[in-house]
Symmetry: C2
Subunit: 339 residues, 2 copies
């Protein structure tokens, strides 16, 4: 498969990040994969508490942890000297180390040498797995079912929606697997491919590997990226749409967003326009593609307004509208099960 495959369970490295907002990746792993988290590693001068047992790398290894994940962000994406020491310590304890920092672990020869000596692996999830050479897409239909989350813009809740769908489908006994396409998603699930590092010619081919043949009642839930309506990133979204060949897609939207972030001249599309363009492009690889509903992030609205807006969307489109943080994904799952 050549996709990323990071051994779990995890020790979450918090270090000296005092603010929970600076430990977003760690908090995300805790939110979606609490059963894969053995502990947190904080520096004595105080890092934020994710609610996990405090363990140093040696104790974590003894308790069964397989990988230490850098859970936080650093200034400029650099690996500060104190963090680098902690990485060395983890390697010495026999843990793999996974990082989403710009500053690559694999670019530090002494860490690479030490990891090789200890027989552990370093995962830099920005960029492609070592030795991975993506194929040209085949375009052939694969068995099993696929759902892709798409968006009216970037940063509207595609990853959150996809993980919530996995949680809620599994809770109902359905077979479902989250397929990560971004670095936080990969660190949360331990698997996937960070697709924004892929040369455009190979994009759909790489995405095909993410959701191979599966049981006919199994759903691959593929994390979307960018938007077909984004002036810079639409090519990424189209490669993902084609390589995923989804049977269903969920349109994610942030309730108060009316302009593409950072592109004030570009209004966000209407939900109907967004559905229509995804069907127009997506039917090339899957003529049965259809919209399964809307995932509306209403966190910037008063609860009553959020409820009203969801209702209005349902009335207008004749499709379910869920807010993963408020309603869960059941409205959309109910709808899919009727197909």
């Amino acid at each position: 498969m050549h996709l990323l495959d990071i051994p779990q369970p995890y020790l979450i490295f918090v270090g000296d990040n005092a603010d929970r907002l600076d430990v977003k990746t760690g908090a995300g792993i805790m939110e979606w994969r609490p059963d894969r988290c053995m502990g947190q590693y904080r520096f004595p001068e105080g890092g934020c508490d994710l609610g996990l047992p405090d363990l140093d790398p040696a104790s974590a290894r003894q308790a069964g942890a397989a990988t230490m994940v850098i859970g936080g962000a650093s200034f400029g994406g650099k690996l500060p000297p104190r963090w680098e020491e902690a990485v060395s310590e983890a390697i010495d304890a026999g843990l793999n180390v996974a990082s989403g920092l710009h500053d690559k672990l694999g670019a530090r020869p002494h860490l690479v040498k030490r990891a090789a000596e200890k027989g552990v692996r370093l995962f830099d999830v920005r960029g492609l797995p070592e030795g991975f050479s993506p194929p040209i897409a085949k375009g052939s239909r694969r068995t099993g079912k696929r759902l892709l989350t798409v968006g009216t813009d970037c940063a509207v809740g595609k990853k959150f929606t996809t993980l919530a769908l996995e949680r809620d489908m599994r809770a109902r006994g359905l077979k479902a697997t989250f397929r990560a396409t971004g670095q936080t998603g990969v660190l949360i699930s331990g698997q996937g491919l960070v697709i924004d590092a892929i040369v455009a010619d190979f994009l759909a081919g790489a995405v095909e590997l993410l959701s191979p043949d599966n049981a006919s009642d199994h759903w691959d839930l593929i994390e979307g990226q960018g938007s077909l309506f984004h002036p810079a990133y639409a090519a990424v979204s189209l490669g993902l749409l084609h390589g995923s060949q989804p049977d269903a897609f969920v349109v994610c939207h942030e309730a108060t967003r009316d302009r593409i972030l950072g592109y004030e001249d570009f209004p966000t599309p209407t939900l109907a326009e967004c559905i229509s363009l995804h069907v127009a492009n997506g039917r090339l690889l899957n003529p049965q593609i259809q919209c399964a509903g809307i995932s509306l992030n209403t966190s910037n609205l008063a609860p009553d307004d959020g409820r009203r807006m969801r209702q209005q969307i349902e009335d207008e489109l004749g499709l379910p509208c869920a807010d993963p943080s408020v309603t869960g994904m059941d409205p959309i799952i109910d709808h899919i099960l009727k197909w």
Copy 2:
């Protein structure tokens, strides 16, 4: 700009390629830029005659040539030892050298050293120019007019059509510039960017650089790649469509092609479908986008059948249908001038 910019005029390296089909790049340069070709460099044992004066690198340099271009293909894209000697000879004579081979000139330290000593440059047009880091697309409207060639498939005549449009628009006194996006196009025009080497996130941004602000009556004619209907390469085509923000597009089609090359399960789209999907996606960056006509490659049809098919397309779509090899591009240029 950081785009490729290969000094002309050229000495075309033919070497020992005896068959004209093996010297496609050289023949293409001769066809479209005969005034930029000073001579051909053939080995004594016989290479095919492109109809240029036979010159060795030293005489070509003296006659004013700036760059020797590898005009032919080699087995497996390798640089054979005899060719490497010829490259050395060209460097010693003070010529730059440009190559589209897989086997990079820049990967041979002795050639790189020699070129630096002589103050000449080596251009490997597969891949990005050295030091080129493509920006994220801005999406802002640029001045001047733009036309993009698109296709129902790969290999349907997009490059040929774009070059023919440039030739025929210039013949009528219009301001028009061919903008190359593939390696042969770059070698022919001496400028451009080979976009299939670009990471998807940066694709539209790189394409924006290809057709900067220009005079309001100037046409940038942008060479298309892939097809929105290609199961592997559609992402490339969409990045090109968005980054080009074309006012006009010409749909290129090979008259007898009914399946995507190498993808038997995928029929080529109807011309109407092809127009409609390009408008649906292209209007994001240019709401005025419209189809300027069809460029039909009828070389696999009897002349009468070709004429009939062109007429039928014109009647059906109400748009001009040209065959660059038969009618030239005037039918489409006439149409654009009426807008």
